[in-house]
Symmetry: C3
Subunit: 476 residues, 3 copies
């Protein structure tokens, strides 16, 4: 294999029968449109449609997958030009940062970051040299030049990537101005918002009071009571829906759900407004708000997404200087059977409700998540998330989920990225890995080839559209 | 592959060396008798020996593996004719239910239910068409007709399946009348009971007081004290043994074991008789009763089986209308090292004691269960259970257990089913998967072929007989 | 395969491409020197350099991996001649014990013990017959004779095994006399001590007060205060360093870390001196001492090793008669994200600090350990430990660690054994398994061959030297 050209059979099993069938199954889905119902791309990217400045700004400084690995090996955040909370950077020489990255590129061997980067460099950008310490500056030049051409502006790439729908993640208090612009001027449903109310439902958020004030501003009245708060959320959800939102998202430590009495919830809210909420109060309030969000989803049809189990900003020193999303979020063991009981008992049998549950705790796949999704009509399983969005992560997921929940209680692939260029890379990897899994099942005579072909299309395209209630015409 | 004919190499790895050896190893064990020391077949089936009425009654309405998957995809229990607690059914048209099932058969792709069903349809029943929405009614006709022939009555199938021993599961209060009849008229030890006292040891069982009264009736004296309760259990165990029982079974939430003082246990029992037992009381009482059951096992030689970790009837709405065993039992994380300490310290070194431990929590395999079974002489590991009774489940088990506990601290395969027709299907699948695992070890030069052949026979037949102390002549 | 000759391709995947490449990668590393920075070999072995007496004394009586498996199958400790706490043995006939072992050798099928034993018997000792019940006495004779020859004395084997450095594990109170002798007379840095202070940091150790007294003796002043205790530890670490120590080791139940105030720590210490420490006190004290040990590591450069999660001496009856290390240590679920937070926040960003973390809980690999090691510069992951030092254990580790933490946040292989003869067997197995894993990644086009070759050498040799700060010239 040419060391920098991507092999057409990459990620497939070596067995000739499996490999050949995996290739066939992959060929059938590789050009299907990309539906991306959950991610963190900034909508401003498409409004401004400016060229990406250079490879360092494009790949390294915004990507905590990359700089956390370099940091773990003793390379300082300073030398990588990671922006501090105040926006300043210690190192501003993009070429020097790129060189440091290229010199340490070997650290990513065997990680999905490497797989995605290779796709971005060699497939998306057409870099003609393998990235090494020796070629780093030449590659920098090449990429910088290419990025200035019209074909590599965000909207052109959106089209080239065959994206059919891309969801962003937006605070409950967001004006969605960029989305409005895009909706009016560019694509009707091409980029849609997602309602993420964590900033107003988490009483421990350092900006909680500010967020509540802003929420009041958005709905045009000051929020002094829990009732007004709930009303405001309902209004904001309606607004998000009007701008195209399909879903809400909830990033919480524990998926604990429990409905409080209105009096209890109101008391907690008032206590928080006085700045007196304790961690215990916050946990109870979050548990109640998940119940409220499910109730609203039943009513307004927004799909509910639960992303639990990340202990955010584990490294206080890094957080203090650089703020959140710096590669220091660490998973914890996450319990679903007891925690989701109330939510699923209240709404899990309701055909109007749809909840997609994710995990960072692989031990919950076969023990709790597959049995829950294999019973409750409202619950579906999100794909392997974050640290598990990888070749082995996907294999672990299918091997632990399928025999209990089948393929059809999962929702297809979700890239969950803020790195726009990595979107086709991630979908391509996922389509390859699923094709390989299906090929294995056929060669072992567990599925027929016909079944595998149908499931392949469903995993790559149809299931995500069904799960997120997307109405535009499908392909299948 | 003909889409509905089962391939002779199904479930084997694609590698030609592994596949060929797996086939050889499987051929050596495929016709060994079936020993089924734990399951839920109704003994009345064999007493009445009536024909099964139709495919719907045979396959769907009694099998929560099947209807829970359909339910999870929004198909109502009503439309599937699942019987309510009062015995009534919303849909009674067996043909319509069968059609609904066939139309949604694709949901089972990649699940063990599909693998078992294929075996039952094409191998046991000889259905000449693949089951699809289009063939559903023709298949219904074919099966209905075949079921009326003498060869498909329960006793004939028992013989055809080469069953050597089949254990049922029976309440401590059961009269075992059917077993007595079978023992007298049909087979000496062909169908044996298993002593399952959960209904009288779980103080939170809604029928607990009724069960205690019934237990008193069975032993001919009212039970007013804990001492009388223990005495009654000892008598009932003796009775079960006389009717052929080899084992007891304990379905509990947590495998917590702790001996109370007699005074403490008596006080809890009296409190419960007054209807005042709390969940904490019940947990303490269960922990004590496991110690008592182990003590009795040491004395009477019944093998103790511990099945923990299923949170029963998670979906209250389904439970309210349809009762238990409706596919809504969800596993929870289960701890063994601390919970089993007292039981193993008291009885685990005693050669008279044998305890078979199961789990629904795969994370406990390598962490706790293999180290415990790899040390205590009395403890053996039950095979992958329930959600894990599957191709990947079996692979996970062997890969996490064998290197610490070896093959000989496991007890062979246990089907644990209430679906009589699935028994040969499940044993066949298990024998195939173990043959494939052993073939892999030989081709990797971890075992010799001679070792693999011996282990193959042991896993399929000899180990289960040894673990459950079955005395009839073996084959090996 | 000749049943007792080891196949050159053992442990490699059957796929011809993978197998051939695995063989090539293995050939490149198989003769690299062995660096063993953590283990339990007795340094007296090399000082005395006496011949090993016979195969039973060499293999069985000191190896809890072996006799626990036999014990789990009902073979008594007595009949195996396992030494009691008072040093006495029920069975003293080495030949009879060897026969019993050989008769039950089949129990080890598929375990790493079998793989290691085969290497020791056929590669190290050159036994010409396969070990069976029938050949047991002949093999006993052969081994006994060979052990008397100069080539099989400990120092000769050390050279033949190509050991470059071997670390022992030593109490904080050890005089290190044997190490001094070895250092002066035999090898400068060939055998080095490791500082393991558990006996003085665990307030519940039955010998704690005796150990504190001894510690005082070692530093020449009685220890009456916490301050004196800390001072003594610092002095002892300095002494260990002078004798060549590279690391400290901490065997604890939970990796909980939390710094107490000096007043709190002093109070606990005084309470313990009065014999009044509770389990809660001990847990708090251990958590504080881990912080102190990390602080000292920052200052003196000793690498910190954390080995948590073994519930020691689970079987009280066995412990009572035979003492510790009798195969009755059972793992428990182990939490790292919260427990290590304080330690990593205080010292994890410090380039002077290096902490190697191990686990017996495989569910923590992808959930907690890889994300932590993939972020904090000071933290590296120890290889699969104890029950997981096996073919599948190593595969689980790489498959769950690599995609998040890469190869370079791990520390290479560590044998952690007290069985000197098994050292080359364990390193050989590890090198084979890693070669096979790397070959798979190349054939799947995830790594290039060049990358795999470099990583292969790093895993086998370079990483362990880097992690343990070993200065002697490398090979690579």
């Amino acid at each position: 294999m040419n060391p920098f050209r991507l092999n057409d059979d990459r990620y497939f099993d070596p067995d000739p029968q499996v490999r050949s069938l995996a290739r066939d199954l992959y060929e059938r889905v590789k050009n299907l449109p990309i539906v991306s119902p959950h991610g963190h791309v900034d909508p401003a990217l498409f409004v401004h449609n400016s060229p990406f400045p250079n490879p360092t700004e494009l790949f390294i400084t915004p990507d905590h997958y990359l700089f956390r690995m370099l940091y773990s090996q003793g390379i300082s955040m300073e030398s990588l030009g990671v922006p501090k909370k105040d926006g300043s950077r210690a190192e501003t020489d993009a070429r020097r940062i790129w060189q440091l990255f290229a010199d340490n590129y070997f650290l990513f061997a065997g990680t999905p970051s490497q797989a995605w980067l290779q796709y971005e460099l060699y497939v998306v950008l057409g870099v003609p040299d393998p990235l090494t310490g020796g070629t780093a500056q030449r590659v920098f030049d090449y990429i910088s030049e290419v990025l200035q051409t019209p074909a590599f502006r965000p909207r052109a790439l959106y089209d080239r990537f065959r994206i059919e729908m891309l969801a962003t993640t937006d605070a409950a208090t967001d004006t969605l101005d960029h989305h409005k612009t895009l909706r009016r001027d560019i694509w009707k449903n091409g980029v849609v918002p997602t309602f993420r109310p964590d900033g107003v439902t988490n009483l421990l958020d350092p900006n909680w009071k500010k967020n509540i004030a802003l929420l009041g501003k958005r709905v045009g009245k000051e929020i002094r009571t829990f009732a007004a708060f709930v009303k405001a959320l309902e209004e904001r959800r309606e607004f998000f829906k009007k701008i195209g939102a399909k879903a809400t998202d909830h990033g919480i430590l524990s998926p604990y759900t429990h409905r409080l009495t209105t009096a209890q919830a109101s008391a907690l809210f008032s206590k928080a407004l006085k700045g007196k909420a304790t961690p215990k109060d916050a946990a109870a309030f979050t548990g109640h708000m998940l119940m409220e969000m499910a109730r609203m989803s039943v009513e307004d049809g927004l799909v509910m997404q639960i992303h639990p189990g990340a202990d955010r900003n584990h490294n206080a020193a890094v957080y203090h200087v650089y703020g959140p999303d710096k590669g220091a979020d660490i998973p914890i063991a996450t319990e679903y059977t007891n925690n989701l009981r109330e939510l699923l008992n209240a709404y899990g049998n309701d055909p109007r409700f749809s909840v997609v549950v994710f995990t960072l705790d692989e031990s919950a796949y076969s023990r709790e998540l597959a049995p829950l999704a294999g019973h409750y009509p409202a619950m579906k399983l999100g794909p392997p998330w974050w640290f598990h969005d990888s070749i082995n992560g996907m294999r672990h997921f299918r091997e632990r989920i399928t025999e209990t929940a089948g393929f059809y209680n999962t929702v297809g692939f979700i890239d969950d990225t803020r790195a726009f260029l990595s979107i086709p890379a991630r979908h391509d990897l996922s389509r390859r890995v699923d094709a390989n899994i299906l090929a294995n099942l056929v060669v072992r005579h567990i599925l027929t080839r016909t079944e595998a072909e149908q499931i392949g299309s469903d995993l790559a395209y149809n299931l995500v559209r069904k799960a997120y209630r997307i109405d535009t015409k499908g392909i299948s």
